[in-house]
């Protein structure tokens, strides 16, 4: 109003106003400045706030991309672990892409320094080439690690390693510096890393193998049962004839493993059967020990101790449990402590008895087997 009052007074007084003076008056005019400054301030603040909203929207979309790349990379690595578990190997199918350690359960890597793994390949396919993080510049990095432990607070199985000792869990982290304009100011003030020109977003994925345990049926395999030789006589697995009332023993030759190889370190039950008799039909009394070795005779396990006190032939049967090693060679041994009785009605005194094992079999218990599949446990 002061400006306008002055203007009016100039006109009303009919004062001869020199042009220079009038322009000076114009410059002295300050009305409306407050409004202009106020609107300009609103404009600047609006621009900053909307620019920040734009930046955050961009960052959020990049976060979704990073999450997706992390899950794709994690799944790819999980598929390699599943292949290794299913094929009893500690390597990926093609060794050039191997990331599974030859021993132990932990390993880690960064795709900016070594990009040969499938995780790095799939992260790259999904937009993250992992050139390494550069401060204050658009850049990204992909890293991974293997673990025996599932992510916390997940309802995962208690699988801590697979049957061939491969770590079942893998974690992938995708980190990206996203270029921003306005948000960088706030982010820097908030202490976020590299935040003048970029803000950092990250996608994580934990995935791995999960198993479903199933109980299989026991498998029984006959091993070298007695045969009928070319003369038509029955040939037992092992036989011994003793010519006096004393102890005697004999071990079979190492029996080759069954046609179907027994899995190493599996616990099997060996069942053997045979007969003990007096050669002349005498009654016998005493005991017969049948023993088994699952590893070529170095350690004998008692199959059973059979006490015989019957006339004539006596059935022997027993079983024992032992652990089969890689040799898959099973031996049987019989030790007899027998006493001959009186001669039978058919034969005169024979002074001898025989013990023979006619057949044996092993039973592989139907233990639990695990069917594995790849699962994403956590993705954020």
């Amino acid at each position: 109003m002061a400006c306008c009052d002055k203007t009016r007074s100039l006109h009303n007084g009919k004062t001869s106003l020199h042009s220079h003076s009038s322009w000076k008056a114009l410059h002295r005019c300050e009305s409306g400045q407050t409004l202009t400054v106020w609107l300009t301030a609103i404009m600047v603040m609006s621009s900053v706030l909307m620019g920040s909203a734009y930046d955050m929207s961009v960052a959020w979309v990049h976060k979704q991309w990073a999450d997706t790349a992390a899950e794709a990379a994690c799944t790819a690595g999980g598929m390699d672990l599943l292949y290794a578990a299913n094929h009893s190997t500690r390597s990926t199918p093609i060794s050039a892409y191997n990331f599974i350690p030859s021993s132990g359960y932990t390993a880690s890597g960064d795709c900016s320094t070594s990009s040969s793994s499938s995780m790095c390949y799939y992260a790259k396919l999904n937009g993250y080439a992992s050139g390494g993080l550069i401060s204050n510049a658009a850049s990204n990095d992909v890293s991974w690690s293997l673990s025996q432990s599932p992510p916390a607070n997940t309802n995962s199985s208690t699988l801590t390693y697979t049957s061939n000792n491969v770590a079942p869990y893998i974690s992938v982290a995708v980190t990206e510096n996203v270029p921003v304009t306005f948000m960088g100011i706030f982010a820097h003030l908030l202490g976020m890393p590299n935040a003048w020109n970029t803000i950092q977003v990250a996608g994580h994925c934990n995935c791995g193998l999960e198993g479903t345990a199933t109980t299989g049926s026991p498998q029984t395999i006959a091993i070298n049962a007695g045969i009928i030789d070319r003369f038509g006589d029955f040939e037992p697995i092992a036989a011994v004839t003793c010519w006096s009332n004393s102890s005697c023993s004999v071990a079979s030759s190492p029996l080759t493993g069954p046609n179907n190889p027994v899995p190493p370190n599996s616990v099997v039950t060996v069942t053997a059967s045979g007969t003990a008799r007096g050669q002349g039909g005498e009654s016998i009394s005493g005991s017969v020990d049948m023993e088994v070795s699952c590893n070529g005779g170095s350690t004998w396990n008692s199959v059973d101790t059979v006490h015989v006190n019957v006339l004539g032939s006596s059935p022997l049967i027993g079983n024992a449990t032992c652990t089969v090693s890689n040799t898959n060679q099973i031996e049987l041994r019989v030790t007899a402590n027998l006493t001959l009785g009186s001669a039978g009605p058919i034969f005169p005194t024979g002074n001898s008895f025989s013990v023979q094992i006619n057949g044996a079999s092993i039973t592989i218990p139907g233990g639990s087997t695990t069917s594995l599949h790849v699962t994403s446990f956590q993705n954020d």
């Binding site: 794709a72 199918p93 994403s376």
Partner: protein, 193 residues
């Protein structure tokens, strides 16, 4: 006298012009209205741009999610009736369609999804399926798995034509906001055969 009067007349005319100019320049009546109107136009335009971009970001996140969910299903999903059999490409395509239809809310003519998978040791997509028909539908670029003799690769591409919800046109022709934008995202995932 005549000359002097002429000078006086000229001077008064010049004085009148200057006074008029000074009057208009210094008269603040309506100034606030004009300034507010001018600033408001810019502000409203900025707000419209912000709203449009928020919509684009919303759709972009949704499309990324759709292609990701479909790819995960293709890589890990199992057909319930066939035990361990992996889902067909068309099933992955349907997953993407469900995501887009159910969450983003785009009209069916404005988006497309394309699922593809490669065979073992394949050098191109062996199976592909498009589950929405429009001109934006095209297959994702083929990339072989690095261990393609043992694994296959699945890809799902979801594309959409984004029309900004708020459109301003100067004189009915010059668009002052975002033009129609086609946004697409491909996601690749591995599958063990």
């Amino acid at each position: 006298m005549g000359a002097r009067q002429e000078i006086t007349t000229r001077s008064s005319i010049r004085t009148d012009h200057t006074a008029i100019a000074a009057r208009f320049a210094c008269d603040v009546r309506g100034q606030a209205l004009i300034e507010t109107a001018l600033f408001s136009m810019v502000l409203v335009l900025m707000l419209a741009m912000a709203a449009n971009f928020a919509y684009v970001a919303y759709i972009a996140a949704g499309i990324t999610s759709a292609s990701r969910q479909a790819s995960v299903y293709a890589a890990q999903g199992q057909q319930a009736t066939a035990g361990n059999a992996l889902p067909a490409v068309s099933a992955a395509c349907s997953i993407a369609a469900n995501e887009v239809n159910g969450w983003i809310g785009l009209s069916s003519t404005n988006w497309s999804a394309y699922a593809a998978s490669a065979a073992i040791s394949g050098s191109s997509w062996a199976n592909s399926s498009s589950c929405a028909g429009n001109s934006y539908s095209n297959a994702p670029a083929f990339n072989a798995d690095p261990e393609s003799a043992y694994f296959t690769i699945n890809a799902v591409k979801v594309s959409a034509a984004l029309n900004p919800p708020i459109a301003f046109k100067l004189f009915g022709k010059l668009s002052l906001t975002l033009p129609t934008t086609i946004y697409g995202r491909s996601v690749y995932m591995r599958q063990l055969n």
